[in-house]
């Protein structure tokens, strides 16, 4: 049984962030952060430091014995100072420990349930929470994958799939006339994946791309006043505004604190069909970003106006250029500031009901997945796949790698592997 961990509190401006661990290695993992463990069920202040002895945080520790915890397993809680950097660092260190991995949504609950610690009513109540958590993490993951890392992950997937197909071919079709050197060919597919993953792990690029907090997209047709509104909210000239439609050609981001939440406001290129190639690209990018955002604010110049981005539950629809609208509707004007406060309050209400911290978890999951994957790939590449290692063990490692990277590269089905084999080799007597 793996030991799992995850932040138990929403990320944001809270003063304290709790990270929970559950499983047989829970206490041992905490012992790697601090030399002296407190007695179970006694909250104690401890200094946590990383492997090189650098101080991470001064935190309150709580340990629970097996059979006397929420999940029924051995558990630990780290009450950290609520800084994003501290939480991120602790999650990363935990993810690097053997036998530890970040929890899947609802996994603590499931374990509690399996161990008879919850009854059905409690489970049903928690299901909604788990669902929200899943959605938030899925959103975050799809946001990450729509970026540069997505293209890279797609390439990893293709190469890992081909690599495994080559190995499986030599196992399952031993009696067919297959060319020699399949292991070498498989290793050739894997080597660039390893290099690229190592680069990804080493670089801070990933950390930059993955931002914590919420993304709120401002959507509307060209010249609806999105940029003006953004400027009014941000209080500075973040986007170039002009009277001509189509000025904002790309997605513009403004990070700010909104009613206690870390929010990235996205200013979209005007959503309209365009012949201009550059603008076309901007529109496509805007649509994808808007769909992946946590919340969309639709800024519409007239009541019947439609956009090509779907309005989801909880999304906010307002009338644009409120200073020119006479009707009594929810309207906002970036120019005069009319309705801006109401809009911010509405955004705050929606975000307040959402699960936060998904980005940190997604990032920690990806980082630990990449770390485990690179270790296994190193093992395959190091001995060139040969040197006495049986092909079924290489295949097993590759299967684990792909499984570990599930959230990044997607599931690889055995039918896909067989398809690759049958497409590549003439199989069959």
């Amino acid at each position: 049984m793996d030991t799992i961990f995850a932040p138990a509190t929403a990320q944001g401006k809270a003063g304290v962030a709790i990270v929970r661990l559950s499983g047989p290695e829970a206490w041992a993992a905490v012992a790697r952060l601090t030399p002296r463990l407190p007695s179970p069920r006694v909250a104690s202040l401890r200094r946590l430091s990383d492997a090189s002895g650098d101080l991470l945080d001064e935190a309150l520790l709580l340990l629970f014995d097996e059979g006397q915890s929420f999940t029924g397993e051995e558990m630990a809680e780290l009450h950290l100072h609520g800084s994003h950097a501290v939480v991120k660092a602790v999650l990363e260190i935990l993810g690097g420990m053997p036998g530890l991995r970040i929890a899947a949504p609802g996994e603590f609950t499931r374990r509690a349930f399996h161990n008879g610690r919850l009854d059905l009513t409690q489970v049903e109540g928690l299901a909604d929470l788990i669902e929200a958590e899943t959605q938030a993490q899925r959103k975050q993951a799809s946001r990450v994958l729509s970026g540069a890392i997505g293209a890279r992950a797609a390439e990893w997937r293709g190469r890992l799939l081909r690599g495994r197909a080559l190995i499986e071919a030599m196992i399952d079709f031993a009696d067919d006339e297959l060319p020699d050197g399949l292991i070498e060919r498989a290793v050739d597919e894997i080597r660039p994946v390893l290099a690229s993953m190592q680069q990804e792990l080493a670089g801070s690029a990933a950390a930059e791309r993955i931002r914590d907090g919420f993304e709120v997209a401002i959507v509307g047709p060209p010249n609806a006043g999105k940029s003006t509104l953004l400027n009014a909210i941000a209080g500075r000239d973040a986007a170039i505004t002009s009277e001509h439609a189509g000025t904002t050609r790309d997605v513009l981001e403004v990070r700010l604190e909104l009613v206690g939440h870390a929010v990235t406001l996205l200013d979209m290129a005007g959503l309209r069909e365009s012949a201009d190639a550059v603008e076309k690209l901007g529109v496509a990018r805007a649509k994808a970003r808007a769909a992946a955002a946590d919340l969309r604010v639709f800024l519409l110049p007239d009541a019947g106006c439609m956009t090509e981005v779907a309005v989801e539950d909880d999304d906010i629809v307002v009338r644009a250029k409120g200073d020119r609208v006479a009707e009594d509707v929810f309207k906002v004007s970036g120019l005069t500031g009319e309705g801006v406060e109401e809009l911010l309050a509405a955004i705050g209400r929606v975000l307040g009901s959402r699960v936060a911290g998904a980005a940190t978890i997604t990032h920690a999951r990806h980082a630990s997945g990449l770390r485990v994957a690179t270790e296994m790939l190193e093992r395959i590449v190091a001995d060139g796949g040969g040197a006495g290692r049986e092909p079924e063990l290489i295949a097993e490692d590759l299967r684990s790698v792909i499984h570990t990277l599930d959230s990044l590269v997607g599931r690889v089905d055995v039918e896909e592997i067989l398809g690759e084999i049958f497409g590549t080799f003439c199989i069959g007597k």
Binding site: H114, I130, E131, D172, L393, A395, I427, K429
Partner: protein
């Protein structure tokens, strides 16, 4: 008015192929009275395709059947004329035992085992109808109007359901060449409202071995160290022979390419999908046109039979073209074709209509096994037959069903794949289908399954005694090798190069090192040397994967745990309002039987799984309370 004698049994098995034979035998072993209904008594145990049993994944299934007291392994050994262990130079998990089998000997062995089973009554006839009463099958009707009353029925009709043979532009209804198809039974099954699909498979021409110039063919001899198909056989029962290897050439390919339009497949007369791993020679030449030559295994069909099976040139070209292209092959210049190759199209039932016990979800007491479920291969059929036979007997006698998980057996992997995913081409086993490949080995099928089979009463006294003796010897050897320890210094002195890290290593630890085998350890300790060689070899095999076992064991435990949470078959998913509609629809279609199956449904969410888990737990505790 004609009055028929009405026979009463527990289980009727329809069909006497590999699935039917295992089903009847297993049900009989469990004490059920069985009627085995077959079109032709002599055709029981016939190998209608290639004369070989086993292989990769397939050999694993044979060992599992054997471990559960089945027929196939013993029959294959009784008929074995050329043993080959595939992947001998790779690790034990992917080694597949295979044997060329003498057709007549094989059939004879199967028929003898059926005859020796006092619970089985052989009935020659064609089943044309099913009797159903209150949602439960209660018997069958034969074409002569007679009836057999039974509590459970297993249908194993292979390719006979609306079978249609194609040779060139000729096609006619047939279950196999020379045998009539089952049309009426197919119509009856259609009435049950199950989904049907159509598949295709093919077979090569059979050649007269006396007209082959063997001297120019490459010979493929039998293994010098043969590995038996059954745990219960120790040495080959027959004289061992070699197979030949021939090769197609440019002229063969030209002949085929020029006449492609005359092939049933390429002439557009067959629309159904055939297996990608068993392409016809037409397919090979079209799809891999850059390959100058394809190999053909020339397999003898028996010791006293000079027919040979040219494995690798299955075809649906007309006879004159078959004749010409076969004769273009070196060594086959003056060969005589005894029976032309053909393609066969047949109906299969979408296996998603079945539970993990192979019983129809919507008709209690009716079980389907073998090619009718969209599989191909003798071994796949036999494995399903065994499970269906067990569960039919259990159903007839009111016992609970036996299901094997993906972590327990290849048979479990196969049935799970079939019943949860369905098939798009004839389903064949590959080792790559098994996530627990390192654990599900041919060599440990007995350790995995014989105990379980013994618990339900499948294992006879001799088999049980042999199994228990082996299990005891293995356990003693494991304990001994786990307790013997050496320091790096001691190992150094014994000639092993080990890191001088001060760590003491047990015999089991050492076996996981590359280059260390059982003989090495036997040299270190006379107590190890005293262990029987076959026991030592087995310990050596399992030790090779020691480092990987922890992960696989944990995964297997998680799977077993989830498989133990049973979801009611009539679960109303609409009561779970918080599960998204789309997912609810998928659940309704898939009707998962356990939490494990539900967790593998595409788009399943943790929240939905938690709700289902809660429900399964509640249903179970309610059952326990009753």
């Amino acid at each position: 008015m004609r009055v028929f004698h009405v026979k009463h049994v527990d289980v009727v098995v329809v069909g006497g192929g590999h699935a039917g034979a295992e089903a009847a035998h297993a049900a009989g072993r469990l004490g059920a009275r069985v009627a085995l209904v077959t079109l032709k008594r002599d055709a029981i145990g016939v190998m209608s395709c290639n004369p070989a049993i086993g292989g990769l994944g397939k050999g694993h299934i044979v060992r599992e059947i054997d471990a559960m007291g089945g027929i196939m392994g013993l029959a294959a050994d009784a008929a074995g004329i050329q043993y080959r262990l595939l992947n001998r130079r790779k690790g034990p998990a992917v080694q597949g035992p295979r044997v060329q089998a003498d057709r007549a000997l094989y059939r004879g062995a199967v028929q003898a085992m059926i005859a020796a089973n006092p619970q089985i009554d052989l009935v020659e006839g064609e089943v044309v109808d099913l009797r159903v009463d209150h949602g439960r099958v209660c018997g069958v009707v034969l074409s002569d109007g007679s009836e057999i009353v039974a509590s459970a029925v297993v249908i194993t009709t292979g390719t006979f359901l609306r079978g249609c043979v194609h040779i060139g532009d000729r096609s006619y209804p047939a279950g196999r060449v020379g045998e009539a198809p089952s049309i009426r039974l197919a119509d009856r099954i259609t009435d049950l409202g199950v989904g049907f699909g159509r598949l295709k498979t093919g077979t090569p021409p059979r050649l007269d071995g006396r007209s082959i110039d063997w001297s120019v063919l490459e010979a493929q001899p039998a293994d010098t160290d043969p590995v038996m198909m059954s745990f219960r056989t120790t040495v080959p029962q027959n004289r061992q022979v070699a197979c030949g290897i021939a090769h197609t050439n440019a002229r063969t390919h030209d002949l085929i390419a020029e006449n492609l339009h005359r092939s049933a497949m390429y002439g557009g007369r067959i629309a159904s999908s055939g297996p990608r791993y068993c392409p016809s020679i037409e397919d090979k030449i079209v799809r891999f046109s850059d390959k100058p030559s394809h190999q053909i295994f020339i397999e003898p069909e028996g010791l006293d039979d000079d027919t040979v099976y040219p494995n690798g040139i299955s075809t649906s070209l007309p006879e004159d073209i078959q004749d010409a292209f076969v004769r273009s092959i070196r060594g086959l210049e003056s060969v005589r074709i005894r029976q032309p190759g053909y393609a066969i199209e047949y109906d299969y039932v979408d296996p998603r209509a079945l539970r993990g016990s192979l019983e129809m979800r919507d008709l209690d007491g009716l079980f389907l096994a073998g090619q009718i479920n969209g599989t191909t291969g003798y071994e796949e059929a036999a494995g399903q037959g065994l499970l269906a036979g067990i569960n039919a007997a259990h159903s007839a006698t009111g016992r609970g069903s036996l299901m094997l998980t993906r972590a327990q057996a290849y048979i479990g992997v196969m049935i799970d794949d079939l019943t949860t995913r369905g098939v798009a081409e004839p389903y064949r086993m590959f080792t790559s289908r098994a996530e627990f490949r390192l654990t599900l080995r041919a060599d440990n099928a007995d350790e995995r399954l014989t105990g379980l089979a013994n618990d339900i009463g499948l294992i006879d006294a001799d088999h049980r005694a042999a199994f228990e003796a082996k299990a005891t010897a293995l356990e003693q050897a494991r304990v001994l090798l786990g307790s013997l320890e050496w320091t790096p210094d001691e190992l150094q002195r014994l000639g092993l190069r080990i890191n001088r890290d001060g760590v003491r290593r047990s015999g089991l630890d050492l076996l996981a090192f590359p280059g260390v085998n059982f003989d090495t350890l036997a040299g270190f300790s006379p107590r190890v040397a005293a262990i029987a060689p076959q026991i030592g070899a087995q310990i050596e095999r399992e030790a090779q994967y020691r480092h990987y076992m922890k992960r696989q064991d944990a995964d297997a435990r998680a799977l077993q745990r989830d498989a133990a949470f049973v979801l009611p078959g009539d679960l109303d998913y609409d009561r779970f309002g918080s599960i998204p509609t789309e997912l609810r629809e998928k659940l309704r279609a898939a009707r998962p039987e356990t939490i494990d199956q539900a967790s593998r449904i595409d788009g399943m969410t943790p929240a939905a799984l938690t709700l289902l888990l809660g429900h399964a737990r509640r249903a179970q505790s309610r059952e326990a309370a009753e």
